[in-house]
Amino acid sequence: MGKYILKRLGMAIVTLWAIITITFILMHSVPGNPFANENKNIPDVVYQNLMRKYGLDKPYSEQYVIYLKNIGRGNFGESMKSNAETVNEMIARGFPVSARLGAQALLIALIFGPALGAIAALHQNKASDYIAMIVSIIGVSVPSFVMGSFLIQFVARKIGWIPIGGWGEFRHTLLPSFALALMPLAQMSRLMRSSMLEVMGQDYIKTAQSKGISKMTVIMKHGVRNAILPIVSILGTTVSNLLVGSFVIEKIFGIPGLGMFFTTSVYNRDYTLIMGVTVFYSIVLILSFLFVDIGYMLVDPKIRLTEEGH
């Protein structure tokens, strides 16, 4: 088991290195340079100083080593467009907001998605099954930006105390969390439904039933407990989807999160900020994939056994 975790950790580090390198190469293959384009009238001396400040006058190989070293120390450098904040400060300001939004959405999805799927599976081809199906079809087909704008139009405009946008109090988080949660909720409900159907057809369920255990105990202890495993396995992907979703949702609702900084930095061509946020997001994602894999191993006896058998 320790060997498996070590192997996954090694993979995670290689992946992270690959991402940092690719990001570096991409950002340095952009034609022109960030100061040449827009400041045609800056004096030569200032231009030279700017280049020196950001280390752009050094050869690429040296820049790359410096960049790697800085990231190793957790330093993402300074923003090229904002004089007030470093990239680290921006991440420190934006990430808690995004993380809260994402965590709330994940919580909504985790509470309602599997429950909906399980209920649908237990009442196959009845009304609740069709409701679950409609929810999951809507969740999979309606992009989050559509959902967000519809919620603003039909909920926020009608109910006074729910704000159209902004950030600060709990009521600000309601609509964005819901809009963000819908797609993972739908995916989880679909997955839970099919996995629950499969589990409930197994022999051990019949054994448990014939032992005279109450229906609820059979469903919870034998059914849901086994059917929930696939949900655990997609949690990594869910986090990744929530992250992309947050770019869009933060834009619609005007939430000052990291996604908003990222999209503005993309628009402004703030290369250090783009690089910093990309690498930071990658670290978050790789870590969450790692935790999900290890967690999955801990809950699924099958994987644990085969890995130990090797």
Partner: protein, 315 residues
């Protein structure tokens, strides 16, 4: 013991009557794989709705931009933000452009991007997965490890990075770059699928037979394995298309979509959201409905195909 020669003569044999021979024939017409899949797909109402919608949207994406009588780029400043009416069926945008023509042209570009991206994924995935599956264990292990690393790079981050690098600020992205960005990591699931199928099917009797007759690996792959794995591949393609369309729409919404004045559904939605605070809700409604319908259709069709091809569900 005397050795007798056995003599066979015509009279000792009799032609079996037709009745006996009939016992051996298969009475029902044999149903080939694809007609059978189609027969079962037809029974899936939701999948057929999806297929029908896709055909309608496909046709409209070809003829739609031409039938309203307005060009998609024509700006008419005397008719800006007109609500849908008899002249402008879907209304006009803030530059007075006809949204009907723009919406269907956007559908066309979104569909083209989705389908091309899925086909490229298919090509790369089949070649890569085929080589990994047919190669030695070491080749397989190395290739799959590389694929694993590529795939664990977050999809949208790469797409956004590439569009940033290869497009000029604020003016959108060329279709080539969009498709490149979408396929650069997304071929991995297809490669995984093909590799898994290859590993399974190369052990089958017909592969063994071909091999013992001297067929090369690439021949077996092309003539025996790939044709037999078309089913899962097709399902995968049907589910890749909406993913690419969704990614393009998201990019469009983040102002990284297709270069103006060419519309895509994502850029139309992005333009539309600007009209929302001033009450022009229809401007976002039209692209939203179209995107959702496309996503819905491909998803239910893909699910239906998967069910229709699953031999365990065969009745």
């Amino acid at each position: 013991m005397e050795k007798t020669d056995l003599i066979y003569s015509e009279e000792m044999f009799k032609k079996a009557p037709q009745k006996l021979r009939d016992a051996e024939t298969i009475r029902r017409p044999s149903i080939k794989y694809w007609p059978d899949v189609w027969r079962r797909l037809k029974q899936d109402k939701l999948a057929m709705v999806g297929l029908g919608l896709l055909i309608i949207m496909g046709i409209m994406s070809i003829v739609g931009p031409h039938i309203s009588g307005f060009k998609y780029y024509e700006q008419d400043y005397s008719n800006i933000n007109v609500k849908p009416n008899r002249e402008y069926w879907f209304g006009t945008d803030e530059l007075g452009r006809d949204l009907f023509a723009r919406a269907w042209l956007g559908t066309r570009y979104s569909l083209i991007i989705g389908i091309l991206a899925a086909l490229i994924d298919l090509g790369i995935g089949v070649i890569y997965g085929g080589i990994a599956g047919m190669g030695s264990q070491r080749v397989d292990a190395i290739m799959m490890r590389i694929a694993e690393i590529i795939y664990s790079i977050p999809y949208m981050l790469v797409v956004i990075l590439l569009t940033v690098v290869f497009s000029t600020a604020g003016s959108g992205t060329s279709m080539f770059v969009l498709i490149l960005a979408m396929t650069i990591t997304d071929w991995v699931p297809m490669a995984n699928l093909v590799r898994g199928q290859v590993l399974q099917l190369r052990e089958s009797e017909y592969s063994l037979a071909a091999e013992s007759l001297g067929a090369t690996n690439s021949w077996i792959l092309r003539k025996h394995i790939i044709p037999n794995t078309m089913g899962p591949i097709l399902v995968n393609v049907t589910l890749t298309i909406p993913r690419a369309i969704f990614a393009e729409a998201t990019l469009g919404f983040l102002s990284l979509g297709l270069q103006a004045p060419k519309p895509s559904l994502g850029t139309l939605a992005n333009d539309g959201i600007a009209g929302m605070p001033v009450g022009n809700f229809y401007q976002i409604l039209v692209p939203s409905i179209l995107i959702s319908l496309i996503m819905f259709s491909f998803n239910v069709l893909g699910d239906g195909l998967r069910d229709a091809m699953d031999p365990r569900l065969r009745k």
